[in-house]
């Protein structure tokens, strides 16, 4: 099939199977920023590591220059957090702590949008 794609307006997609329903978590804003995401990121740490690894692999495929970008992220982006406003700085520090991720990687993950508007 080639674009432009012709629509198929469905009328029976709802409700989808319960297995696709997304689970809810509470983020307590009364906690210190560093503690707010602890429960969630402990549970999802491996999945976050997985997506960052895939992203780095993708960037490395662009060549040596692009690979340098990854080194920059790993080595320098950790210092980048000093420039971020509160409470976000504290929240990112907490996410790095409870997920055992490099702070630079957590910062990268949180500025994905700005990177992908290129």
């Amino acid at each position: 099939q080639v674009p432009p794609f012709k629509e198929e307006c469905v009328k029976d997609a709802y409700p989808p199977p319960a297995s696709l329903l997304v689970k809810e978590y509470i983020i307590n804003l009364d906690l210190a920023p560093e503690e707010r995401w602890a429960e969630l990121v402990k549970e999802k740490a491996e999945l976050i590591k997985n997506i960052l690894a895939k992203f780095k692999e993708f960037v490395r495929d662009w060549g040596q220059e692009a690979a340098k970008l990854i080194e920059l992220v790993d080595e320098k982006f950790g210092k980048f957090d000093d420039t971020l406003p509160e409470p976000f700085r504290g929240e990112l520090l907490g996410i790095a702590k409870y997920s055992n991720l490099n702070l630079g990687e957590v910062v990268l993950y949180n500025i994905f949008y700005e990177i992908f508007t290129v």
Partner: protein, 252 residues
């Protein structure tokens, strides 16, 4: 992405969106899926941000991402953000930030501040329109009263356009990833199919079910879609489902 704000015949407002992400980031030949899109799905969570045990707002997030892309502040407003591509994009904003020019706001932090602190549709609209940013974006905002829905088209420095639901056709407003006054790229036209399905549905059938069906219609639903979320501002209801685009399904 595709975002819709729609009003039922009694003036009740719904806000729904598909979040598409991962184009060109690794095509899995064996499974015929996008690698990053699939890796993001298990990270999708609904979050209930609370203060003193009371809900301040609810959102759909990728775990570990602290900004906001889709959210409802019960009885106040709803918000979604669609990506806007521009050569003056976020990369320039990041470089400026690194060079010490820090007058702009990170997109996710701006939307999070709006969800936490804005107290009305008009307040949220003002902040989203008037805050300098590091990257362009489309903000889709829904209110609580009949006719309260708009798409704010943002450049990094300023608002280019605010498109009101009234002028978009009256009972709904729909945004994908293109300026509404230009034609979408013919290779990536989800706007025309989505509009056709909305018109087929008619205003009489505006509901969680009706809008979910529109967002489940291919190619509005495609292999880049990570989730579909539907929100109802009057009740603060947020319902999110992982996307499951069964073959044959368009790659974007």
């Amino acid at each position: 992405c595709t975002s819709i704000v729609a009003e039922d015949p009694s003036g009740n407002l719904y806000h729904a969106r598909n979040l598409d992400f991962g184009l060109f980031i690794g095509w899995d030949i064996r499974n015929e899926t996008w690698e990053i899109t699939e890796a993001l799905k298990p990270l999708i969570v609904n979050l209930n941000f609370q203060r003193s045990g009371q809900t301040v707002f609810k959102s759909v997030n990728y775990a570990g991402y602290v900004g906001i892309l889709t959210a409802v502040k019960p009885k106040t407003f709803t918000l979604s953000m669609d990506e806007r591509f521009n050569k003056d994009g976020g990369f320039i904003g990041i470089i400026e930030w690194l060079l010490g020019i820090r007058t702009g706001s990170w997109m996710g932090f701006l939307t999070r501040n709006v969800m936490e602190n804005s107290t009305s549709y008009s307040d949220a609209r003002d902040v989203l329109s008037n805050t300098e940013m590091l990257a362009p974006a489309y903000f889709i905002l829904g209110g609580t009263k009949s006719g309260e829905g708009c798409v704010i088209t943002r450049d990094r420095e300023k608002t280019i356009d605010i498109w009101e639901m009234k002028s978009a056709g009256g009972w709904y407003i729909l945004e994908t990833n293109y300026d509404h006054w230009t034609k979408p790229l013919f290779l990536d036209d989800r706007r025309t199919p989505a509009n056709n399905c909305m018109r087929n549905m008619t205003q009489t059938n505006v509901s969680v079910k009706g809008i979910f069906n529109v967002l489940s219609s291919k190619p509005v639903l495609n292999k880049l879609t990570t989730y579909t979320a539907v929100m109802e501002v009057s009740t603060g209801h947020l319902e999110t489902y992982l996307a499951n685009c069964t073959d044959p399904c368009f790659p974007w």
